[in-house]
Symmetry: C4
Subunit: 217 residues, 4 copies
Amino acid sequence: MTISPKKAMVYLTTQRIEAFSDGVFAIAITLLVLEIKVPHVSEGGSLWAGLGHLWTSYFGYIFSFIMIGVYWANHHHIFHVYKKSDHYFVLLNVIFLMCISFVPFPTAVLVEYIGDPEHRQAAMTFYALGLFLPAFSWLCTWLYASHKHRLLDQKLSPSYVTKTTKLFVISNLLYFAAILISLWNGIAGLIVCSSLTLLYLQAPSQPTYTDETDAAV
Amino acid sequence: MTISPKKAMVYLTTQRIEAFSDGVFAIAITLLVLEIKVPHVSEGGSLWAGLGHLWTSYFGYIFSFIMIGVYWANHHHIFHVYKKSDHYFVLLNVIFLMCISFVPFPTAVLVEYIGDPEHRQAAMTFYALGLFLPAFSWLCTWLYASHKHRLLDQKLSPSYVTKTTKLFVISNLLYFAAILISLWNGIAGLIVCSSLTLLYLQAPSQPTYTDETDAAV
Amino acid sequence: MTISPKKAMVYLTTQRIEAFSDGVFAIAITLLVLEIKVPHVSEGGSLWAGLGHLWTSYFGYIFSFIMIGVYWANHHHIFHVYKKSDHYFVLLNVIFLMCISFVPFPTAVLVEYIGDPEHRQAAMTFYALGLFLPAFSWLCTWLYASHKHRLLDQKLSPSYVTKTTKLFVISNLLYFAAILISLWNGIAGLIVCSSLTLLYLQAPSQPTYTDETDAAV
Amino acid sequence: MTISPKKAMVYLTTQRIEAFSDGVFAIAITLLVLEIKVPHVSEGGSLWAGLGHLWTSYFGYIFSFIMIGVYWANHHHIFHVYKKSDHYFVLLNVIFLMCISFVPFPTAVLVEYIGDPEHRQAAMTFYALGLFLPAFSWLCTWLYASHKHRLLDQKLSPSYVTKTTKLFVISNLLYFAAILISLWNGIAGLIVCSSLTLLYLQAPSQPTYTDETDAAV
């Protein structure tokens, strides 16, 4: 608010960053369908059986679609509390988008090897890693932006910031735990990841503002 | 209207959801062209014959393009009566987009097997199912949003809501019927689906508002 | 201007249609790069020679990129004079976008067969047809929208409308001529198409309004 | 500012051009992931080894993602000082986008041949060329727009324009030098390109306006 319009103008507005991010999210989420390949039915075979064998593809499609969709929703939710942007924030957001765009690849690896007992575990660990990367870069972006309210609405209550930081740190630890668990047991790691996703599906908490509470900044 | 700006702010605005949905629609609709493969003309063959043999690809492209285009137009049409959004609405919309993004896959299956008498019927049933999924998730989104005018403009006339609900339930039943019919006769199922599309092509009815009619909320 | 806001609301705004169209244009134009395949250099061969052999791919990429880019610029240019939209206009625009999205396919066919003397002519005719389709659907959209100023700014001078209609009809005739010429000589047909593109690259004429001229509607 | 609203209307607004460019950037950047192919592990092999062998793919993905991301950020940064657009500017921007959309191809070539001592150097020169093309078209766009403040904010200080022109000319010379260096030593050329990217990662300078300084236009 102490930023003059002229000065603020030279940074990208958060709306512009959101619009570009939306584009990347929309494309990454839609490219997932390209991983589902039309089955080639052999002589005398059944197309339904062929379509049924693709259950790993459907699973990967649905799972990753919801993961990216949830990240998209959270991206918007959090961007509401970012009031300005700067050069490093833009770069951190580009790195976050790089991690989101990468998700179709570990998904394809998981789909290819989930039915193969020998490589299933490695594929699941790689997938858990693929989910950890956006969570981690998302945390970094938040830590940079929220440090001393650098890019946040100045009126945002410190308790909301602390709570959000805690939430992001914990979810990173849980994703990291999912990687470790998947090294021991692939299925268990995937179940932890799924539960985390379900956690994210919960309605996020509402930001609180100091002029709404009885103050005390 | 009784929502304070601060509180409303934490939910995604319907404009933002529309912009993201537009992106997914635009990509899903454009990816359809990737399913049309350049023909490999054998020695002494004719390129025109090769291009002609792709009629199933052109058919699938045009049919699915119009289907997704019609859903896009309806998405916008209906979003005009949604006045706010909440967390579950965002998730339902993501699931709807997941069904829209999936359409290129049943299209590819149909294109591959429509010329094969043995598998044509299964391919058509699968395609009808692929058209039913967005219709069904679209109905769920509407039922959630319109229940007690939860996310609708409060002035929207109850008769418009009832009429729209009826329309969506009937079109779902018809899509479901198309699946059943295609189990018995693939071509017939496809004709039912096409007719439904033609129905959607009709101009949708105008929303009416209680302050425009002689009231009675 | 005599349309009440409530009534106008139920149609898609032209901005929304533009935004969706932009998405389709952006994807169709970017997908062109997927047609350029990394060359596989044989033992002892040179990568530069391999990259050089792809000149047909580069040619197709550049030519179709500029074609779609020019259509995009014209789409926006003309949308400035559309003041409202209706159901049929939306459908015509979807069909136009279907033709634009299709362009990468005839481009891929041209790239594959332009170096093959036997099939070059057929490939060029097919490509000319691929350029004619968006021109034709674009003309249809214009004729529908401009008929009795149906969707145009009411103040737009009739002379501008007549001039634009003439321009679109002539360019359609020329594209059609290019198809016919390419049946006789592929290279000649392609040269006609290129010249048409160069014509489009000229700055379009400015719309004139009746309140700017000495009136006479 | 001396442009009447009616007249200005016939050109695309810079916002529209930005929105379309954003779409192309978002797609080009997301398509990069399609170049990373799921490894096929041979009998008795390790999936981790297979995933490890893809380091060239990861390298190409990250490098090109950051390059395109940096161009996107610069595109927006510079578009803030463009106040209007004209027909040639739109065409120059389309050519710039053509160069950006092309980046995934030299990236794929680099990824394919960076591990092959025979072709590594050619691949790197081609990649350096792929990075030079957007830099060069970007410079052309700037020179056209800034010539006699043609499309710039009239109040933008001439010193900012001169500084920016110098910066763009120098970075073009450096990219060109990178091409020449890569002809002599591929790795050295790539290091120069990387350093240039790091340079771009620096916060760009703030535009200055004549009414902010003590004047003297």
